[in-house]
Subunit: 339 residues, 2 copies
């Protein structure tokens, strides 16, 4: 139930204001929208009256009528990794950039963190009638759901990998190439026994692992070790610690994300293993905080800001009815102090 939403001399709707001003609701509506059809004098009279009473037209009603909401949904599907929280830094970083871009264009943002228990979670979101468009962050294990909806719902852009022939429009880096870059940087530093830290059920992470394997193969090295590391930040550290013995003969680590990399460096430091003297670590994402750790993280940059910008402008194109192709950005190696 809505509580009072208006100051004391409450005017609850356009009709009351109309009565007060001695005109019809239509005129009030036009006056408040600053339409030239109404006499300048009455228009101003109505506007000051509205201001005095702190009246503002109900957006819900307006949006229902004009069939345009100026709201964009930002959705995070947590398919696997349901323990992952929204507070995950990667997600927060991209959300921040999306929010900046959307707010600047006068759109509001509706945030949904979804655990896709119901088959039709995405259908439910797009058909709610509340949104002009949808941005999905991460494909998780919901590829089919995205394809199904992309078939008929145009204004949707997804952050993630692009696979040939897919229906839904994505923005993301070439994750495989990024993984390869990571591997090559480790190899260039003379590392020979590589490991990938991160679980590989999500397409993005899987591609990164494959890229690392590519690099190993190309250099004639044995296949890298793959160690699960889950994104629920509260348990990550101990999970990594537990893997420490397995890493006895490892000298180069490609992490699935910056967060994993940071945690890894942290755990290694706790065990008096020096980075990069004893082990090299390379991250993935280039979060702002990768630059602020000590030692600063060497990582593969996703250029999240640019990606977010691209997502937003492509979404606007699609809302306007234009078609857009998926964008795959070039990953670049950011050399800092951990390799």
């Amino acid at each position: 139930m809505n509580s009072n939403t208006t100051p004391p001399g409450r005017i609850r709707n356009i009709a009351e204001l109309a009565r007060l001003a001695g005109v019809s609701t239509g005129t009030v509506s036009r006056a408040l929208a600053n339409k030239s059809l109404v006499n300048t004098e009455t228009r101003e009279r109505i506007q000051t009256l509205a201001r005095e009473h702190g009246f503002r037209p109900n957006q819900m009603a307006r949006r229902l009528r004009v069939q345009e909401t100026r709201v964009i949904g930002v959705v995070v599907p947590l398919g696997h990794e349901r323990r992952q929280h929204l507070s995950d830094p990667f997600f927060m970083t991209i959300l921040g950039h999306l929010a900046d871009a959307l707010t600047e264009s006068g759109y509001d943002i509706m945030l949904s963190r979804v655990i896709p228990d119901e088959e039709d979670w995405l259908e439910r979101i797009v058909a709610s009638g509340m949104l002009d468009g949808v941005l999905v962050i991460g494909q998780s294990n919901q590829f089919e759901a995205l394809e199904r909806v992309a078939e008929y719902y145009r204004p949707m852009v997804v952050w993630g990998s692009h696979t040939p022939g897919q229906k839904h429009c994505t923005v993301g880096v070439d994750n495989r190439k990024g993984g390869k870059l990571a591997g090559e940087s480790l190899i260039a530093a003379g590392r020979k026994r590589l490991a990938f830290m991160g679980e590989i059920r999500a397409p993005e992470l899987h591609e990164r692992f494959l890229g690392l394997c590519d690099a190993a193969t190309a250099a004639g090295l044995p296949a890298p070790l793959q160690l699960d590391t889950h994104l629920a930040s509260d348990t990550m550290a101990e999970e990594i610690a537990r893997n420490l013995d397995l890493m006895a003969d490892i000298d180069g680590i490609a992490a699935g994300s910056d967060l994993i990399a940071m945690q890894t460096v942290r755990v290694l430091a706790d065990h008096d293993i020096a980075v990069p003297k004893d082990i090299s670590v390379v991250g993935f994402d280039d979060l702002p905080l990768a630059e602020q750790t000590i030692p600063r993280l060497t990582t593969i940059s996703q250029n999240i800001a640019k990606g977010a910008q691209a997502m937003v402008s492509m979404l606007f194109d699609r809302i306007a009815g234009k078609e857009t192709d998926s964008v795959e950005m070039e990953p670049v190696l950011i050399k800092r102090d951990t390799v």
Copy 2:
């Protein structure tokens, strides 16, 4: 303009479905809402029909009618510091926790980053008719606006400082005590020439500075230096670097936030000043990443997760018509490696 929001055999509204099922719209509405008033058989018939056609009732219309939106606004006023972005880690962290709590209760989140150019920015938000309640993150320099609205709009909870007699309901730590704690920890480590890094126009930061002064006074030390450091992360580092000369004779730094503290440590490291050997640094917030830096940050904990929980449950109380008092949490010193 909304594009297609329904699969091929499109049914756009309840009326079309009603025609298809040979019943009235009222019955369809009740059937989809699983009301017991409609015959089990027809109810199921309508529900399968809806499912087959992927139909979902328009939420905008529903919400207009029932006057309940199940949407909570999360607002970040950027009064001063307009260059600060949503991607600020503190904000992102608290937003993450709020999102988790609200989503679990079945609420959606509408995110607004507002630059309060217009006097009535907050009025506009609460009177939009789009929200069941509002959470404001940070008081910024908008104390009056908050007071004015709190006068008549109940379902609002603000993250920030509580000053005696204020109208709006806040959740936050005792910032002054936190600042004092920070100062005491520096003094306990033998530091004598203190500085506060952060600009002090926002009430929260100002209180922290005052707390630091309290500690200095109590220990018979001269008043701490106060150095502006703005929260726009892109320029923060150079700003701190520029202040470096001023800090020539400083040996203890209380930072206005963890982010500032991290940047400070980073800049000091770049200038071969060892932390904590040469200078001690204490942060404020205890962001998750404070634990992951090297050296790990000594800081004042705000217990953001608990605070977010409190904000949400208090908001629900207020939506239900109950009164709630402001909550002031105890800051605690988290001793790590930078003091």
